[in-house]
C-alpha cells in the first residue's frame, strides 16, 4: 500500500520535471507569456472580448462591408469620384431601372428562369435522392453519393463547356438523334433558354440533391410502414407522409439553387443568346465600360439582391406554413 503511494509520488515528481522540460511546459513557465496570459485571463469577460473582437471586426468589415459599400455607391451620382467633382446622393440609378424595358425585362426573365430551373432541378433530383436514401443499403449509400459528387468538383466553366459540346449543332445529342433517323438536320439547341436551362440545372443539381438526401435519410422508414398498415397506397404514402416530412429539405434545396442560379454570369454568356439576356449580364455590362457607370451597376445589383432575398424569404414562409398545416 505504502509502496504504491510512494511510487505514485515519484511519478508525480517525474511528471512535474517533465512538464518543465517540454515545449509547452517551458512556454507556460516563460515569464512574458505568463504576464500576457495573466492579462488575457484576468476576467472571463476580458477573455471573451479578446476572443470575440477579431471575428466581429472581420465579419463587419469583410462580410457586411462590401454589401454596404455597394448600396452606398448605388445612391451616388459618380463613383469613383473624379478630383474636383462633388459627389451627390441621388435615387436616379434606381429610377433608371424602371425607366427602360431593356433593364427590367432581363430582371424579370432572370427571376422567372431561376424559379423554373429550380423547379426542374427539384423534380429531377427528388427521385434520385429518394432512391439513395431508401433503396440503397447504408453501406453503399456513401459510394453511390460519391459517384455523383465527382463531377461536381469540376468547375463552372469546364462543365458549361461540356454542355456546349453536348448540345452544339455538331454535338453529341444532334448526332445521336440524326443517326436514329429522328431528325434530318440538326436542331439548334444552343443559345436558347433550353441550353441555358440544361446548363444551369447541370451546375446546381447537387445543391438540391444533398439537402433532399439528408432530409429523406433522417425520415424513419417505420412512418411509411405504419401508413401502409393503415391502408394508404403508395401515392398517398408519398403525398401524406414522405413529402410533408421532407419539406425542410425541399425548402433549403430550392432556396440554395434559386440564389445560385440568379447569380450565374458565365453560363448565360456562353450558353444563352440575345433573347435570353440575364440580369447578371446587364449588371456586368456596367462594369466593363468606364467607371462612371458603376453607381448604376451597383443599384441594379442591389435591386437583384433584395428581390432574391425577399422571394426566398416569402418562399420559406410559405413552405413553413405548408409544413405546419400538414402535420396538424
Amino acid at each position: 500500500m505504502s509502496n504504491e503511494a510512494a511510487s505514485r509520488a515519484t511519478q508525480d515528481v517525474d511528471a512535474h520535471t517533465r512538464v518543465g522540460r517540454t515545449f509547452w511546459g517551458r512556454l507556460s513557465n516563460w515569464s512574458p507569456y505568463r504576464a500576457l496570459m495573466g492579462l488575457v485571463t484576468a476576467s472571463p469577460r476580458r477573455q471573451f472580448l479578446i476572443l470575440a473582437i477579431f471575428p466581429l471586426l472581420w465579419v463587419l468589415t469583410q462580410h457586411l462591408g462590401p454589401m454596404l459599400q455597394m448600396v452606398r455607391v448605388s445612391l451616388t451620382d459618380a463613383y469613383p469620384v473624379a478630383p474636383g467633382v462633388e459627389q451627390h446622393f441621388t435615387l436616379d440609378n434606381y429610377a433608371r431601372f424602371f425607366g427602360d424595358q431593356i433593364f427590367w425585362q432581363p430582371f424579370f426573365r432572370t427571376l422567372i428562369f431561376a424559379g423554373g430551373f429550380t423547379f426542374c432541378t427539384l423534380i429531377l433530383t427528388y427521385p434520385v435522392a429518394y432512391f439513395l436514401a431508401r433503396h440503397v443499403s447504408r453501406k453503399n449509400q456513401m459510394l453511390f453519393l460519391l459517384l455523383l459528387l465527382i463531377p461536381f468538383w469540376v468547375g463552372e466553366i469546364v462543365r458549361t463547356y461540356a454542355i456546349m459540346i453536348l448540345l452544339g449543332n455538331t454535338g453529341a445529342l444532334n448526332l445521336v438523334l440524326q443517326s436514329l433517323g429522328l431528325i434530318d438536320r440538326p436542331i439548334p439547341f444552343m443559345y436558347t433558354s433550353f441550353s441555358m436551362g440544361v446548363g444551369i440545372v447541370y451546375l446546381t443539381a447537387l445543391y438540391m440533391l444533398l439537402p433532399l438526401y439528408s432530409a429523406l435519410e433522417k425520415l424513419p422508414r417505420s412512418y411509411n410502414e405504419a401508413a401502409a398498415d393503415l391502408g394508404a397506397g403508395a401515392w398517398t404514402r408519398f403525398r401524406r407522409v414522405t413529402l410533408p416530412l421532407t419539406i425542410e429539405g425541399i425548402s433549403s434545396g430550392c432556396t440554395l439553387v434559386f440564389l445560385i442560379s440568379t447569380g450565374f454570369y458565365a453560363t448565360p454568356v456562353l450558353l444563352g443568346g440575345p433573347s435570353t439576356t440575364t440580369f447578371a449580364e446587364t449588371i456586368a455590362g456596367f462594369f466593363h465600360v468606364a467607371g462612371d457607370e458603376w453607381p448604376t451597376g451597383a443599384a441594379f445589383a442591389t435591386i437583384m439582391f433584395f428581390a432574391a432575398l425577399v422571394l426566398t424569404a416569402v418562399f420559406q414562409k410559405l413552405m413553413n406554413a405548408l409544413r405546419k398545416g400538414d402535420t396538424k
Binding site: F54, Q69, Y161, T170, L259, F287, F305
Partner: protein, 263 residues
C-alpha cells in the same frame, strides 16, 4: 409493386449518373480529336493538343497562378474561419445570431452580386485588380464554408477533455492548441480542400477582380469566347483531372481520419 418501384427508381438514378458524366466524358474525348473543328463524329485521334498545352508557357504559368491564389486564399479562410467557429460554437451571448448571419452572408449572395460588391469594395480599400484582390475575395467568400464545417466538428468535442486540461493547469491558449486544435484537424483539412477547389474553380470573382493575368477558368472563358477548339478541351481536361483527383483523395482521407478519431 415495391419491387417495380425500386427498379424504376434505380433506372432514374443511373440515368442521372449518365446525365452528370456523359457531358464531361464527351468533353474529354473531344480533346483527343485530330481536327481543329469541335464536333462529332471523331474520325482520327491525336495527343497533339496535350503536348501543345504542356509546351505553352502561358498556360503553365496560368496553372501556377491559379494554384498560388487557391493556396493563399485557403490559408486565410481556414485561419479566420476556425477562429469564428470557436467563438460561435457552444457559446451564448448577445448578438450571436447577428454575427452568425453576417458570417454566412458571403456564401448566400448570388455570384455576380458578390463579384460586383467585392470589386467596388476593393476599389474603396485601394486594392488594385490582380492577384491580391482575387486572393482577398476568394478568402472572404470561402470563410462561411470553413466556419460551418469546423463548427460541426467542434460540437462533438467532449467538454470533459477541455475541463481536464484546465484542471491540470493549461491556460486557454494551450488548451486550445493541445486539445481543441488536434481534434479539429480532420475538419480543417476537409474544409481546406473544399476551399482550394472552390477557389481554383471560381470564375466570376476572378473575372471581375483580376488584372491582366488570367486564372485558369478565366483563360478558358476568354478562349471559348473567341471560338471552340480541342485545345480548350485539353486545358479543361487537365483542370478537371486535377480537381477531381484532389476531391476524391480528400474524400477518402477525411473519411479515414474520421474513422480513426471515432475508434
Amino acid at each position: 409493386m415495391n419491387r417495380g418501384n425500386r427498379i424504376l427508381l434505380s433506372c432514374v438514378y443511373w440515368a442521372f449518373v449518365l446525365y452528370v458524366f456523359v457531358p464531361l466524358i464527351l468533353m474529354i474525348l473531344m480533346g483527343f480529336k485530330d481536327s481543329k473543328f469541335i464536333g462529332f463524329p471523331i474520325k482520327s485521334w491525336t495527343l497533339d493538343w496535350y503536348t501543345g498545352i504542356f509546351a505553352d508557357a502561358e498556360i503553365l504559368s496560368t496553372l501556377g497562378y491559379s494554384a498560388a491564389i487557391a493556396v493563399l486564399a485557403t490559408l486565410i479562410s481556414v485561419a479566420v474561419g476556425t477562429w469564428i467557429a470557436v467563438l460561435l460554437e457552444g457559446r451564448k451571448f448577445w448578438g450571436r445570431t447577428a454575427i452568425f448571419g453576417m458570417t454566412v452572408l458571403p456564401a448566400l449572395v448570388p455570384g455576380i452580386i458578390s463579384a460586383i460588391a467585392f470589386r467596388i469594395y476593393a476599389r474603396y480599400l485601394g486594392i488594385e485588380p490582380g492577384m491580391g484582390a482575387i486572393v482577398w475575395a476568394h478568402a472572404v467568400h470561402n470563410v462561411p464554408f470553413v466556419v460551418l464545417v469546423v463548427m460541426a466538428r467542434l460540437s462533438t468535442l467532449p467538454k470533459s477533455q477541455l475541463e481536464a486540461a484546465r484542471d491540470l493547469g493549461a491556460d486557454p491558449i494551450i488548451a486550445f492548441l493541445r486539445i481543441t486544435l488536434p481534434y479539429l484537424v480532420p475538419a480543417i483539412l476537409g474544409a481546406s480542400i473544399f476551399c482550394l477547389l472552390l477557389s481554383f474553380d471560381d470564375f466570376v470573382r476572378s473575372f471581375f477582380l483580376g488584372g491582366y493575368e488570367p486564372t485558369l477558368p478565366v483563360l478558358i472563358f476568354a478562349k471559348l469566347k473567341s471560338g471552340m477548339s480541342p485545345e480548350i478541351n485539353a486545358i479543361a481536361t487537365v483542370a478537371l483531372v486535377l480537381t477531381a483527383a484532389i476531391g476524391i483523395w480528400a474524400e477518402r482521407f477525411t473519411r479515414r481520419m474520421n474513422k480513426d478519431t471515432k475508434a
